[in-house]
Each structure stands twice: as structure tokens, then as C-alpha cells.
Amino acid sequence: MTVNAEATQSAPVLRLQDIRKSFGGIVAIENFSLEVYPGEIVALVGDNGAGKSTLIKIISGVHPPTSGTMTIEGETVTMSNATMARAHGIEVVYQDLALADQQSVYMNMFLGREPTNRFGLLDRRRMIDETDKLVKELDVRIPSAHATIRDLSGGQRQGVAIARATHWASKLILLDEPTAALGVAETAKVEEIVQSLKSRNIGVLIISHSLDQVFKLSDRICVLRRGKQIGVRETAKTDKNEIIAMITGLQHS
């Protein structure tokens, strides 16, 4: 029993091995390998065009890799669209959040996956209750589950998008620049929410341009440069100078 429990504890939710992706003759990603464990936040950093977005698209099923294997909790998967990734318990919080602005918070929480009652009609009660519960757990401060997305602040919208991902993700959440458009206080709030995801035992892969944020949130940092994996460091055992050197390729330490 204990052995089993420990085995699942230590098994990565996501394992990428020798991932390579080329578009025509152009290689976007090569020799990329990474593991993400449950309850762990891994940051993906690199300059513009380093291949971070391509990697997110590979993991979320939008672009299948040209070669290499992807395993989710030990099971090798091939995905050809985002729906398949979601079926595997992977959720993405896109940079543009992918929220329907004129719909309510609860309709967005269940966008494309609305529960119905036995008459085949929308089960609003359930959507509202589950939204209220999750929003409370994650401490996303919105006026109500009925609020229209358009009436929310940037931080609240980000909170809703993360709450939606949290509700559906059983294995892994990908966060693409979650605080790029936010002010100081809202960024702090969103970071708090991301931090709280660790206790839910799902893996988090976060893309961020802010090294302060990366060092504050992550357990490990994976550096990409021009489609190549430069290295993975434990956040506690590295510093900004080393990471910057890895990102830019300029050695000065």
C-alpha cells in the first residue's frame, strides 16, 4: 500500500521525452525533455521566439509533436486536438483567457461542457453552486457567479480563467503569461491563487517573462533558447544571474 502510494506520489503527471517539432524545414523545438510532478510548479522561461508557445501548443494538443513521446501519469498519449488534451486532464489558461465576455461567470466556467438535467436542459443550479464553491475555495473575489465577464476587472477575469482550468484539470494546468496584463495588486492576487494550486496535487507549468514571479512561484525552472532546452534548475539552488545567462546565452559567471 505505502509503496504504491509512494509510487504514485513520485510519478510525474507529465513526461516529455525527446520532443521535436518542425514546421516545414524550420525546427521550432528539439531534444526537449521535461517532467512535471503533482503539486509542483515548473516555470518555462526563454526569450521571445524561444519556443515556449510551441511547447504549450504541443502539450495542449494543438500541434502534435513531429517526434518524441509524451506520457501522462505513465501512459503514452498522442493528441491531435485540444479536446483530447482536456480528456486527459490537461487544461490551458490562454494568454487571452478565452472567456466569452458577455456571458456570466458560471456559463464561462462550464463553456462547452455545460451539465444538463434529465430533460436535457441546462442545469443552472449546479453550474452556479459549483462556481460559487470553487470561487470561494480559490478566493477569486468576484461579485457573484451571475456577474458578466465584461463587468470584471483584469485580475478577476484571470481568476475566473484559472478557476475554470482548476475545475476541469485533473493532472496539469498550463498558464501562459497569467499576469502580463495585470497591475501590481492584481498580480499578487493571481500569484496567490497559482500558489494555492499546489495543494490540489496537480502539476502546473507556467510561462512568465517576470523572473521575480518565476522565483517566487516555481519549484523548478526550465530554460529554452531558440528551440533548444538549455537546462532545468531547482529554483532554490539557482539565482537570477544564472537563469539570465541561460536565457541569453551570455556567460558571465
Binding site: 485540444a82 463553456l111 455545460e114 453552486d129 470561487v135 468576484i142 461579485p143
Partner: protein
């Protein structure tokens, strides 16, 4: 009283409590126009039961078309072809019925509408052409088809069962056109508000990218709404043929502007993401009442068109103001 609020302490409770002008403008507009005519046309017979029920009967086809357009516009598309789909469907029904009987005629009428919708839908959803251009083209195309089908003649509809069922008949003392209106509005409202399909239509119109990454098939929604619109325009054609006991290429020709106005006034946004079937019904009744009142007031046809045009302008202005907030 609402049960203990699960949405917890510390947060301001309740809705974003602002008055949503655009959503209710149709009800105020309806009341205002009604009161205006009731007073001004007191002695011209506006308020008689006969006149008021006539308004409802006359607007039945436009209301049915408006329901389809709410779906289309909510998905961020437009269907201009309904203006000529009505005539094509009515003519198809009349011609087929005279040769092959009632059932074949009804199926031909509805089928013609669905086929126009299918053509529009495939071009918009899968060939990815803008619905404005596609349906503008099919509007002209089928206006031509309905003219060449009959050499500009009108086709009589003599089947008494048909004219009773779709036109002048009554059931339980209520005219069949009112039944059609009520049933179509009720079913339309239920599908629009309470089903996953309705929610997906709104999501596609609101943010098609978000809908797509959420697993909603955006092309399938676009195809379906245009087929709903075509099918309902076909039904409107049957209602015209039933009421007038004849089909002609001019049927529905002038309805397009009225229907678009009814839908927009009724709170459906031009750019999609938000709308109301009930609002469209009230909008359609309002437009019918307006037509009726302007005629009773003795306005010429051209003056009526000007007034209608101004109302549409006002409605669009309110609609766009709302969207940009």
C-alpha cells in the same frame, strides 16, 4: 428568501446592479407606441379587438422569421436571404401541393427553406465566407428563382386543409396564426435559453476562438443557425400562402427590414453573444403595431418607410452603444 448564500462573506452580494437599457428598451418602446396610438387614434378604431388581433395575425410570419434571425445574429452572423426564402418556399409549397397534395406541399415548402439555409450554412461555416455577403447573394439569387419559377404569376392555393391549418383557421377558438406564433416562440425560447445548443450559439457569437478551444464545433453551430433561419423562413412562407390562399414572388419581400429591426429592438446584439426571443416577439409586434397605426393615421407608404427607417436607426444606435461599453 434566498437560502444561506454559499457565496460567502466579505464579498458584496448581488448582481452588477445597473439598468440595462438595451435589454428593456423594446418593452418601453412597445408601451409608448401603444399608448401613443391609443390616444391619437382613439376614434380611428386602433383599440378595437378586431384591429389588435389583426396586428398579431399580420405579424405572425415576421415573428417566425425573427426567431430564426435571433439565433443567427446571436452566433455573430446575419441572414439577409430570408427576404426571398419566404417566396421560394411559398411557391414551392403551392406548386407541389397542386400536383401532389397537402403533405408533399408542406414538405416542399419547409424543405426549400432548409435547403437555402443549408446552402448559406455550408458557404459560411465551411467555405468560410462572410455571412453578410453570402446571404446578400442568395437573397438576390432566390428572388430571381422565385420570379422565373412562375413567370411572375401568382399560384393559387386551394387546399382547404392547408389554408385552415396555416392561415385562416382556428383551433379552440384561437386563430391558427396565433398558435403558430406562440408555439414557435415557446420552442425557440426554450432552445435558446435552456439548452446547451443555445449556450453554444451565444458562445460562438461572443468569442468564437474561446468557443473553439472549449470544444464547441464553431462551424457546426454556424451551419445549424443558418438552417434554423432558413427553415423558419420556409414556415413563414407557408403561413403567407395559407393566409393569402396564394403564393407569389413578392411574398416577404418587404419583411427583411422589419424583421431585422424587430430583432435588434428586441435586444439582440448585431455582433452576437446576446439576444432574446421574447424581445424579438415584442419587437415584431411593435413593428406591426407601428405599421398598422401609421396606416390608420393616414401616412403614405413612403412616409411609413421613413418612420420605420428612423426607428431602426435609433435601435441600432442603442445596440452599438451597449456593446461598446
Amino acid at each position: 428568501m434566498p437560502s444561506a448564500n454559499t457565496a460567502a462573506s466579505g464579498r458584496p452580494n448581488g448582481f452588477a446592479n445597473r439598468i440595462n437599457l438595451q435589454q428593456y428598451v423594446v418593452y418601453f418602446g412597445f408601451l409608448a407606441i401603444f399608448l401613443f396610438f391609443a390616444i391619437v387614434l382613439k376614434d380611428s378604431g386602433f383599440l378595437t379587438v378586431r384591429n389588435l388581433s389583426n396586428i398579431v395575425l399580420q405579424t405572425a410570419p415576421a415573428t417566425i422569421m425573427a426567431i430564426g434571425l435571433v439565433f443567427v445574429m446571436s452566433a455573430g452572423e446575419i441572414d439577409l436571404s430570408i427576404g426571398s426564402t419566404v417566396a421560394v418556399s411559398a411557391l414551392a409549397a403551392a406548386v407541389t401541393m397542386n400536383d401532389y397534395g397537402l403533405v408533399a406541399g408542406v414538405l416542399a415548402g419547409l424543405g426549400a427553406g432548409l435547403l437555402v439555409g443549408l446552402l448559406n450554412g455550408v458557404l459560411v461555416a465551411y467555405v468560410k465566407l462572410p455571412s453578410f455577403l453570402v446571404t446578400l447573394a442568395t437573397l438576390g439569387l432566390f428572388a430571381g428563382v422565385s420570379r422565373s419559377m412562375t413567370d411572375l404569376r401568382s399560384i393559387p392555393v386551394t387546399n382547404g386543409t392547408f389554408t385552415g391549418f396555416f392561415g385562416s383557421g382556428a383551433f379552440l377558438g384561437i386563430p391558427s396564426l396565433i398558435w403558430w406564433t406562440v408555439i414557435a416562440v415557446a420552442i425557440g425560447h426554450l432552445i435558446y435559453r435552456e439548452t446547451r445548443f443555445g449556450a453554444h450559439v451565444l458562445a460562438v457569437g461572443d468569442n468564437s476562438r474561446a468557443a473553439g478551444v472549449s470544444g464547441i464545433s464553431v462551424p457546426r453551430i454556424r451551419l445549424t443557425v443558418l438552417m434554423i433561419s432558413g427553415g423558419l423562413a420556409g414556415l413563414a412562407g407557408l403561413l403567407y400562402a395559407g393566409r393569402l390562399q396564394a403564393a407569389k414572388y413578392t411574398l416577404g419581400e418587404t419583411d427583411l427590414m422589419t424583421v431585422i429591426a424587430a430583432v435588434i429592438v428586441g435586444g439582440t446584439l448585431l455582433n452576437g453573444g446576446k439576444g432574446s426571443i421574447i424581445g424579438a416577439l415584442v419587437g415584431s409586434l411593435m413593428m406591426g403595431m407601428l405599421n398598422n397605426g401609421l396606416i390608420l393615421m393616414g401616412l403614405s407608404v413612403s412616409d411609413q418607410m421613413i418612420v420605420r427607417g428612423l426607428i431602426i436607426l435609433a435601435a441600432v444606435a442603442v445596440s452599438l452603444r451597449e456593446k461598446s461599453r
